[in-house]
């Protein structure tokens, strides 16, 4: 589990060279580019094509400098400095200055003077450059190039070609970083322009980055185009709430409304990128919010005052006491999750708590407690880049943790890292990380891990080897145990990559039955003592037995064995058995919901409290690394209360002391508690309910169902952003050629589960025989709702009658 020390060893021996920039001597690492060396001295050389994360092209020529001994001016963005090199930038060299000014004049030649209506106006490198060193009047008196404008390169991204300076940042990003070379330079010479294939858009989960790195206003997003001027916006650094990648973002707002979100620079995490969901899926923050507390009266919710609602909640919860279940959606901050964890134990005396609003198992819980909860940050993005091998299990990074995907692609491009996915399908995402597929039918992953080919096993023994396991491992009996065992045996670093931003934080905060904050286990006497001391209670005041979690908790509520439920950010449809979840809400006598939007829960809850969204509170997410990703409140005058504050108020009304007054206090308290340093008694193998099983291809029309959530799908936090939704990947049923042949090569299939069926076009690909791959929750295909099936289930698949024979 621990990182070996070898991984970082080459950091120690960085060879330095001495270079003179404008007469100043500076030591820089060997291989440094002149443009970077100058930056270190505070000399900013103009640049348009240069981007530190893209391979240099030296195309725009804006950064020409003088290098002693070389007769022609050289592009600083591609000039590697060598020991003793003498560089003269525009600050000291008339040659460089004149060359740069000449290039600027060329760039402006055909550039329209539409800055007043251009989205980039006010934050445009070309505009800034023109204002600072450009000629007051153009010497060009010819006709400027014109193009039809704008063109959609995708549903989300628009292109005004006449503004383009052919820097190729966007095309290099698409090709090098995202692995989606669908945005290309077309034509030649003065007609050169960015574009796509005639019949295929720029289909990339990362397309919004091209807008951000465009040094002019050529690329704009449909969502932001003509919405605001940069100088009217207030910018706040934030953290993305969508997934566990942990992206640093910048949120820009104007008059109380978020206008856009940008990727912010964090070299250790997201570098300078984010995914389109993180960038564009924010309308939910404002639209359809619950604005006041509500109480159910005569079967109908009605607005209520805070004191009335708090009183109602307190009375109901006090009556239920330890017979209460607490469901914390995987989207809460560490601080909020901690409040739930503490509220359950202290205010209710209950250990019935779970944050896993998804497929889960007790084996998984044991796995998380023993090898994930409260562990320090050891396996990092940097580890992925340095690893000789990364094995992914039950994880499709491009969909489920896109920045992990980008880092894996970077690692693969460097040629250092071999990537192997244990799964049922060789996805395009796997091809983009140049990965290999170790085929496993759903449910069969554990056996595959136990019987790894010798070369792979020895590869995992190498220092720096990493295993990444996704949350879907919970659906595999024996899976969590097999992963933990493999890591223990090989010494590979193991990291759990959940999908949602709040999962790891909730785990570490103790929002899981049997688990106290910092990875402490409820039944461990020392752990109890530590936590009780921090909470100012007697250790005996903590629940004596491990409570209910997962579907046991839901079943207990359905059967009336739980008197009350508290939910925080829970979407019932996210449970594999959402009928069970709905029945649990109905079965529980009393339901308190802390939500920011109406949902299937608020339809039935007895008391509803509106809570703050991420822009209305400060907090922390733990990314998959376990790295804290704190963020501050964007809208400082917001009156919305965080979950923790609402829970505090309920506790106070219940005359219980919860001690969670503000984020700073909670952080302090968590800091004092620290991570658990003691024994971890449970190992997941102990908890495995049965020996690992293999799945065999099922005969005839019964296929094993493989599903995960596409990055852009029917998720509720993506609501209100139609341009983003239009960039979702096609919803298809993927299967192997042999499987398709056994079904008679249908163009479309009808996939049926216990509850119903969906009809989907067939896509033949590199899929293990006997499996069908479908999106878990996309428009027209919701596995849980439409089929009533779970990952790994056998589903009936037959040719759809409406469309027959061959691919349409």
């Amino acid at each position: 589990m621990t990182m070996t020390s070898n991984a970082g060893s080459d950091l120690a021996a960085v060879e330095m060279v001495s270079v003179t920039v404008d007469g100043v001597i500076i030591e820089v690492p060997k291989g440094t580019l002149a443009i970077r060396a100058a930056e270190l001295l505070g000399v900013e050389i103009p640049r348009f094509c240069d981007h530190p994360l893209l391979d240099p092209v030296a195309a725009c020529r804006a950064c020409l400098i003088e290098v002693e001994g070389i007769p022609k001016p050289q592009p600083a963005c591609a000039q590697v400095v060598s020991d003793g090199m003498q560089i003269r930038t525009q600050m000291s060299s008339p040659v460089a200055r004149e060359a740069q000014e000449g290039v600027l004049e060329f760039l402006l030649l055909n550039h329209p003077l539409d800055c007043p209506v251009c989205d980039k106006g006010g934050e445009c490198p070309l505009q800034n450059q023109a204002m600072s060193v450009g000629r007051p009047e153009s010497r060009f008196d010819g006709e400027k190039r014109v193009f039809d404008k704008p063109i959609n390169v995708s549903a989300e991204i628009l292109l005004d070609r006449e503004r383009c300076v052919s820097c190729a940042r966007c095309t290099r990003f698409a090709d090098q970083i995202a692995g989606d070379p669908m945005l290309e330079l077309l034509e030649r010479g003065a007609k050169q322009q960015v574009g796509t294939a005639a019949d295929q858009p720029f289909d990339s989960y990362f397309s919004g980055n091209t807008v951000q790195i465009c040094p002019v206003g050529a690329l704009t997003s449909a969502a932001y185009r003509f919405r605001a001027r940069p100088f009217d916006l207030v910018s706040v650094p934030t953290t993305c709430e969508h997934c566990a990648s942990g992206c640093s973002l910048r949120t820009d707002y104007r008059r109380g409304t978020v206008t856009r979100r940008l990727a912010w620079d964090d070299p250790e995490v997201n570098e300078e990128w984010n995914c389109d969901k993180g960038r564009f899926a924010f309308p939910y923050l404002q639209e359809g919010r619950i604005t006041s507390p509500m109480i159910r009266e005569d079967g109908e919710l009605r607005p209520a005052s805070w004191p009335e609602a708090l009183d109602a909640a307190a009375r109901g919860l006090a009556a239920a006491g330890s017979s209460t279940g607490v469901l914390v959606g995987g989207r809460s901050t560490v601080e909020d999750a901690y409040a739930y964890a503490r509220f359950a134990r202290v205010a209710l005396g209950s250990d019935n708590i779970d944050f896993r609003v998804r497929e889960s198992s007790s084996e998984e819980a044991a796995f998380l407690m023993s090898v994930v909860a409260g562990t320090s940050v050891t396996t990092t993005y940097e580890s992925l880049e340095q690893a000789p091998i990364v094995m992914t299990v039950a994880l499709e990074p491009e969909d489920e943790s896109p920045i992990v995907f980008l880092r894996l692609r970077k690692a693969a491009r460097s040629g250092r890292t071999r990537i192997v996915n244990v799964g049922a399908v060789a996805t395009k995402g796997l091809a983009k990380v140049r990965g290999e597929l170790l085929a496993a039918l759903p449910g069969g992953e554990a056996r595959v891990l136990q019987e790894l080919p010798a070369d792979l096993k020895s590869a995992l023994h190498q220092p720096g080897a990493v295993i990444l396991v996704g949350e879907r491992i919970a659906a595999v009996v024996g899976g969590p145990s097999a992963v933990a065992a493999l890591a223990a045996e090989t010494g590979a670093s193991l990291a759990w990559v959940p999908r949602r931003a709040g999962e790891r934080g909730a785990l570490d905060a103790g929002a899981l039955a049997g688990l106290l904050p910092g990875g402490r286990q409820l039944l461990d006497p020392t752990a109890r003592t530590e936590v009780a001391a921090a909470w100012g209670i007697d250790p005996d005041g903590l629940p004596a037995d491990i409570g209910l979690a997962g579907e046991q908790l839901l079943m207990a509520a359905r059967e009336g064995r739980l008197a009350a439920l508290i939910t925080g950010g829970v979407e019932l449809a996210d449970y594999p058995d959402h009928e069970l979840a709905e029945a649990a809400i109905v079965g529980a006598g009393f339901v308190v919901a802390l939500e920011n939007h109406h949902s299937a829960i608020t339809e039935r809850a007895d008391v509803v409290f509106p809570v703050a969204v991420v822009t209305e509170k400060s907090g922390t997410f733990l990314d998959w690394e376990g790295r804290p990703r704190p963020f501050v409140q964007v809208f400082r005058d917001s009156l919305a209360q965080s979950d923790a504050m609402v829970l505090g108020m309920i506790a106070t009304t219940m005359e219980r002391r919860l001690g969670v007054h503000d984020v700073a206090g909670i952080r302090r308290e968590l800091g004092v508690l620290g991570p658990w340093g003691g024994q971890r008694s449970l190992s997941p193998a102990d908890a495995a309910q049965s020996a690992p099983v293999t799945s065999t291809p099922v005969d005839g029309a019964l296929l094993r169902l493989v599903a995960w959530r596409a990055l852009i799908d029917s998720g509720v936090m993506q609501e209100g952003e139609p341009f983003l939704a239009a960039t979702a990947r096609p919803v298809v049923a993927a299967m192997s050629a042999r499987t398709a042949a056994s079904l008679g090569h249908p163009a479309a299939v009808l996939v049926a589960g216990p509850k119903g069926s969906v009809e989907l076009p067939v896509q033949v690909g590199e899929v293990i025989d006997g499996a069908v791959i479908m999106p878990l929750n996309s428009p027209g295909c919701s596995i849980y709702r439409d089929l009533g099936a779970r990952i790994g289930d056998a589903v009936t698949v037959r040719a759809a009658e409406s469309r027959e024979g061959g691919r349409s």
Partner: protein, 224 residues
């Protein structure tokens, strides 16, 4: 028009000629043009399919090179060199005569869609200026009248002999030659004319030749 399996197989053959299959893209696009009359979306997608690259990547390439067209070229492609030397030595007049004869302009099809006229750049035949090409085969030393005569004969279906190359076939056939250069026509027509022999004729007339191997060096070089 969809690209047939047979053509896809030919694309795969081209791809197999190179250590990295993508190298075959230019020949494959010549093949597409030969089959389709221009570089079509179907052709682009077929290339992308065969090479495992995106259609955008193929489009980026197909739009870069002048020889790939995006409109049906018709039976014959007519090029007239209008670069400085050919143009000023009469290519401009040849072009004007053809534009009038064909009722078209630069890089466009003729009125009857059978011909495509293009002002082309230097064709590496400056000694034979003004130069015209028919389906990219040389028609050297043109005049406006001789150029129009070539078009008229082609239009009548008569055989027209390239001045340095085989008899004119059609645009599609040339596309195929560029994809698969061994077209069996190397022995057709003449490829060396008096202008190419200008120096040699004088040398022979006047008894000029390259010097022999120097005696001192002869021993060194014959050892092998």
């Amino acid at each position: 028009m969809a690209i047939s399996e047979a053509v896809r197989e030919e694309m795969r053959q081209l791809a197999a000629l190179y250590p990295q299959s993508r190298s075959a893209l230019l020949p494959m696009l010549h093949l597409v043009q030969s089959e389709e009359g221009d570089v079509t979306i179907d052709g682009i997608n077929a290339c992308a399919d065969v090479l495992g690259i995106t259609s955008a990547e193929v489009t980026a390439v197909s739009t870069f090179y002048t020889m790939y067209k995006r409109q049906k070229v018709g039976q014959h492609h007519i090029g007239v060199c209008i670069n400085t030397l050919c143009g000023l030595l009469g290519g401009d007049a040849v072009y004007a005569a053809l534009a009038e004869r064909l009722g078209t302009t630069h890089d466009s099809p003729s009125e009857d869609s059978n011909f495509w006229l293009e002002r082309i750049e230097c064709q590496a035949a400056c000694t034979h200026a003004p130069v015209m090409t028919v389906d990219w085969e040389f028609m050297d030393d043109m005049t406006p009248a001789s150029a129009v005569d070539v078009i008229d004969r082609l239009a009548r279906g008569e055989v027209v002999q390239s001045t340095r190359g085989p008899a004119i076939r059609d645009f599609a056939a040339t596309g195929r030659t560029l994809a698969f250069p061994n077209d069996g026509l190397a022995d057709e027509g003449v490829s060396v004319d008096e202008k190419m022999l200008a120096g040699l004729r004088i040398a022979k007339e006047r008894g000029m030749s390259a010097p022999p191997i120097p005696a001192s060096a002869a021993a060194d070089t014959t050892e092998g």
